[in-house]
């Protein structure tokens, strides 16, 4: 195993999640680190240097999550990786996949704003991608995340050409103060032109800003 795959910083392992992170009963594993700085980040501890993270190898993680093997198999669930940005650790994911029983479904919740090589590696070992597209409008995306979305859109187009559309769900949030329903409609049109078919429209509910 390469040094890059040897350890990954994980700040939480949440068991027995149901219908939140994929089909069936899912264990959510959240990595530290993210290329984005979203204004309403659900897990800001993922990039907080004070966050206490577990440095785990793929085998150590497998030993922790395998306790729920029967639930995974019975319900069609498995392990979903989030964070932070799980595609910062593609070799880790690949190694972890090699340890899992065939009946486990692996998912990632990702911004897809990572090098293409990471996405390509993940496509070989991840069953389902949940992609948080934020907004396809570059200005809105930059305002909300602090980063450009060019790489993300390019990755999404290439991923849609690489794997079947049923393995991809693109989340289309209504982000208060940043985008509108019309913006979301434009995003969906763009993603449909890539061949994508599964979308999850939802609204960020945020605490009142101070």
């Amino acid at each position: 195993m390469s040094a890059a795959a040897k350890l990954a910083p994980i700040f939480a392992i949440a068991r027995h999640r149901m219908n939140l992170d994929g089909v069936g009963i899912v264990t959510l594993v959240t990595f530290c680190g993210c290329p984005l700085r979203c204004r309403y980040c659900i897990n800001p501890q993922s990039f907080d240097p004070k966050t206490k993270a577990m440095q785990l190898t793929p085998l150590e993680l497998y030993d922790k999550v395998r306790v729920d093997n029967l639930y995974f198999l019975a319900s069609g669930g498995g392990v979903t990786f989030g964070g932070g940005e799980p595609l910062l650790y593609p070799q880790f994911l690949k190694e972890f996949r090699s340890l899992c029983p065939d009946g486990w479904r692996l998912g990632v919740e990702t911004s897809l704003n990572v090098p293409w090589e990471a996405v390509e590696t993940a496509a070989s070992c991840i069953d389902h991608f949940f992609i948080d597209g934020k907004d396809s409008n570059p200005a809105i995306y930059r305002a909300y995340t602090g980063q450009d979305n060019g790489r993300m859109l390019d990755n999404l187009k290439r991923l849609a050409a690489l794997i079947p559309p049923e393995r991809i769900t693109v989340r289309i949030p209504l982000i208060p103060y940043y985008n509108t329903d019309e913006d979301r409609d434009r995003s969906v049109v763009l993603y449909e032109s890539y061949g994508l078919t599964q979308f999850d429209r939802f609204t960020y509910k945020i605490k009142e800003l101070a």
Binding site: A12, I13, A14, R15, H16, M18, N19, L20, G22, V23, G24, I25, L28, T30, Y40, C41, I42, N43, P44, Q45, K64, R66, V67, D68, N69, L70, Y71, L73, A74, S75, G76, G77, G103, T169, R171, P173, Q198, D200, R201, F202, T203, Y204, K205, I206, K207
Partner: protein, 247 residues
């Protein structure tokens, strides 16, 4: 969709365990949870039941039996929580509607406690399994070895045995009858030194044959090498064992 309460989660998980047991003829007795108030949806008792089922499923698989687990349950999101539906009904977990409120407590902090009992704690015996059909089990050491893959050489001493058996054993201990029952039938049980004949866990399967002890409902204790953990095994008249889970 509001966050599921621990008791709801517990009930769904318990139902799944029951289905797995029923589908695979695994003796399994559970009880209503008396806990009041919030919880994570699991506890040491639930964890022990799950571990027991995992061992029993693996044991059946190692014996060549057909095991049914995949797709036994479909967890479907409904207003106010999730429900367990028979396989084939309901639909997958596609998210729709409003998202759960994002907040920094959205991620549960770490694995629920009580995954495994602390060292030295006995797990309650759940559903002791008595194997009556000895034809399903090889009756000689050699047959044991061929039945289970990856067999290391027979340990010469208890120390060597201890080095093979992990400190925290994750599987059942089973005794298989040795080939020559008649030779040993008349021996005093106290004078017979029995050794571990077979144990297994998910990633380690070790099988070797040694002595056979034929006794009627006799219990005995054995020291497992350097770990000094004890297991209690009872024997039926057929020479086979009642397995006891120990961790």
């Amino acid at each position: 969709m509001p966050t599921m309460k621990g008791k709801e989660r517990c009930k769904i998980l318990k139902d799944i365990r029951q289905r797995i047991a029923d589908e695979n003829d695994i003796p399994y007795v559970t009880s209503e949870c008396p806990h009041k108030g919030d919880c994570l949806g699991t506890c040491p008792k639930c964890e022990a039941e799950l571990a027991y089922l995992e061992r029993e499923v693996n044991r059946r698989r190692s014996l060549g039996k057909v095991v049914t687990v995949a797709g036994l349950a479909v967890v479907t999101a409904v207003s106010g929580g999730c429900v367990l539906t028979p396989n084939g009904a309901g639909h997958g977990g596609a998210l729709d509607g409003d998202m759960v409120m994002p907040n920094t407590q959205a991620i549960d902090s770490d694995i629920a406690g009580g995954l495994l009992p602390p060292d030295g704690t006995e797990i309650p015996i759940l559903g002791e399994v008595e194997e009556k059909n000895t034809t399903e089990l090889p009756l000689t050491g050699d047959a044991c070895a061929t039945h289970i893959a990856g067999v290391p050489p027979l340990p010469e001493t208890d120390v060597e045995m201890g080095e093979l058996v992990p400190d925290t054993l994750m599987g059942d201990i089973a005794y298989f009858p040795a080939p020559d029952m008649a030779e040993l039938a008349g021996l005093d049980a106290d004078s017979i030194s029995s050794r571990l004949l077979s144990c297994y866990r998910d990633d380690l399967r070790v099988a070797w044959a040694d002595y056979f002890v034929k006794a009627a409902s006799q219990a005995d204790t054995f020291r497992l090498g350097k770990s000094e953990k004890y297991l209690v095994v009872t024997y039926d008249d057929g020479g086979f064992v009642t397995r006891v889970a120990i961790q």
